[in-house]
Symmetry: D2
Subunit: 258 residues, 4 copies
């Protein structure tokens, strides 16, 4: 909207705060996505081939937690650098169409459109489970799944079984909407607290400073971000060091060291 | 009972089958215990100090899955060899009384009696969560918790908050009964299938062979155990190798090699 | 030898002691095998496809440590129960011939014969690395590799490059002998201490009790095993609990609990 | 230097390239630091308390690999957000002085000055091992260690044993210089290739564009970074998807979705 000149007032992109997306998106989405799928299906994760679409902060959270529960994780990505990170983090990386043939559970966390589409449904195994934890319900091309199917019924709450013309069952969870909200309780409060603190402090900042802020997208001020981190550590009873004056001086210098 | 001469007929200890306790107790209990606590409390596991009482098959499952979700895991054990394994698996190992002061979530999986008792409750932090996933509801000394408390109320389904005389809140989950059964759906079918197969095939074996079996405890016949494993792999679509005649001969020999 | 009636005196199978094979074979071999291959080749483990042949105690150590360094681990096994454990521990499991086509590094830890043979060499990728950390130098069929090759040269200490007739390079490490001994320093003393303690105490036991011991294979007495574990914990400064009389009584009872 | 107006020509900060610091610093330093310490000391990592000073890209690599080898990892940090990430990644986080009392191995990866100093040496356990893998040999305050000691001798190559006045032995590795270069072979070529590619392509870019570049620090052009990533994946034989025109359009839109 800003690029199109349609944004008529200043906003703060709270999601860009370090104490938001590093934590909420990674640890929150990671845990709660798996939780939502578990509640919907009661599957055993150990040994299961799980395909994670997207290796952004949410994707890494989901991939990490799926592995932590014993799954074999396959990652798909369109960004080469992120794909490389996934490989070096020990995950299998391949194209979506290759992954579609191997996976047992598919989780989209891309924020994109039709990440799982007709081509993928055409080659999935019988019994495949498909869920979204990215953004809107367009990451999975649900109309394509409907078109490919001869029947559709709810087999458990939040689990719809589609049967394809060639007799394979594909399970869509929570109508393709965010599965952690659909089938579980969303993110734990212990991680939302940081996100909400950023929102509250950013609102306060906007109220106090709006006259000096141009229309457009602003970042969360660094001091707010750091303060949220500091407060969170304090509530957890964790103490850390601070730099001495000499250490700060060294960090800012370029004349010392060999 | 057998040792006391009170066991009057042959039984088969299905829990001792490799395809039972290696899987059901480890991967089943591991996942479903965490699942039960998540559903009861919706806590974030990442960064949480979790104390696992007991490092048998269930304990290793719980410890491994808690770590997989980002927790800092502390193990308590009475068996030195198991304690050492826990250490070398990267967990902190300490006495129960030390752990009681550090932990945020406590999970007993010992099969024993009063693993968490008055001494431990006396030093726990405000907000501690206590759950059992071992055997009976005697692993946690609930009467001691009641005696130490001035109030008791349900704050969420399966979560009772006790307030101690000095004002600390301790949360007991599921009345101290198996939390995976109390608050979740128990083990996934993908791991119970092996346990039930052992039970069914052992029953068949008893019917066919009871006349030749003395009163007492018998193990699951090796062939049943191996057959359950073979069938499970087959249903998962996983193929493995078999030894050639030369390889078997080599394994049984003692004359070759330098 | 015992089965063949060729064993003429009592021996104690020290490798069967819990404080030996749980630790030395798993944590010792796990770390030192990777260490040996790293010193021989200086490869990056992150993202590398590593095939571990065998999922006994050594195999799980190697698989676990390879994953810990960021590798994608494939396990091959002939025992269905162990294969299932590998799957549920999150590893890919497949036949040797499938693994041969995918792997970049191959490590045999089976104690068997010709685990990697002509069929496997025929399909390996250019640049494959083959090492043994199991038992004798017959796990890898070296004569078959020689027969399949048109040239052979040392490219780094402990690294021989074979070039096959179709131009693929296959690297054999340490002449197929135990790579942790060939190219590194073997197991760290912090794990060998337990193995040596078992050996020393078992020798003492044999000297004191040989007149009462039949010819054949005996296990390490339970008390020795437990004492080694106890001493090791003590030297690490780790304290654990002991059972109270009531707890022991409960463990031995069968009348309590619901 | 740029801030001080002392930088008289354009330079490109290659370390800031994603295909440099995400990989070289994390996976390269992570593995090679542990490798260097292993070669210097042959310690067993399983169960060892390892203190990692700093949770930047190098620190997370070291912490991750140490845990992967079975160590209990403690992280120290001065940045609250990074400290929180370390906690949520499952590591213990505490002040340096607390860590100094618990650690068995200390690894500095901060790029800072005197991260381990007299106060820390004063409380370390007998047998502590101290190494640096950050930047210069000033991260460890070696003069302070010398001042606190009554003797100093080499006990293995790259291992100096200092004995303090109260009889504790503290082992300094590689004179406090980068331990992966001192005692091992530095980073594997499979990760340096990306760093060198960035350097080579950035040099070419400087040669071609220097007339248009102001004096000061420039970032690696995005296209170079992405091209290095693309080429690396290709050499590893890994294929990924590309976005369709519709998908790109969706990503750039703000009008769709509910």
């Amino acid at each position: 909207m800003a690029a199109d000149g349609k944004l008529k007032y200043p906003i703060i992109a709270v999601n860009e705060a370090e104490t938001k997306h590093f934590f909420d998106n990674r640890y929150g989405t990671g845990q709660s996505t798996l939780d939502g799928i578990t509640r919907a299906t009661n599957i055993l994760w150990a040994g299961r081939r799980v395909v994670v679409g997207g290796y952004g902060w949410c994707g890494r959270g989901v991939a990490s937690r799926a592995r932590g529960l014993g799954a074999q994780v396959i990652v798909t990505e369109v960004n080469p650098v992120r794909a490389l990170e996934a490989v070096m983090d020990g995950f299998q990386v391949m194209t979506g169409i290759e992954a579609a043939q191997q996976g047992e559970v598919f989780i989209t966390v891309t924020g994109g459109w039709h990440v799982i589409s007709a081509d993928h449904f055409a080659v999935m195994r019988d019994g495949a489970i498909v869920a979204n934890s990215g953004h809107f319900n367009v990451e999975i091309d649900i109309p394509a799944l409907v078109a490919a199917s001869v029947s559709r019924r709810e087999v458990r709450p939040f689990v719809e079984e589609f049967v394809t013309a060639d007799g394979r069952r594909i399970h869509l969870l929570g109508e393709g909407r965010l599965i952690n909200l659909a089938a579980a309780e969303g993110h734990p409060s212990a991680v939302m607290d940081m996100s909400f603190a950023n929102q509250a402090l950013s609102c306060e900042y906007l109220v106090k400073n709006h006259s000096n802020l141009a229309s457009g997208v602003h970042v969360v001020p660094r001091e707010i971000d750091a303060e949220v981190g500091r407060l969170k550590l304090e509530t957890m009873g964790i103490r850390i060091d601070t730099l001495s004056a000499e250490q700060t001086a060294y960090n800012e210098s370029w004349e010392e060291g060999t």
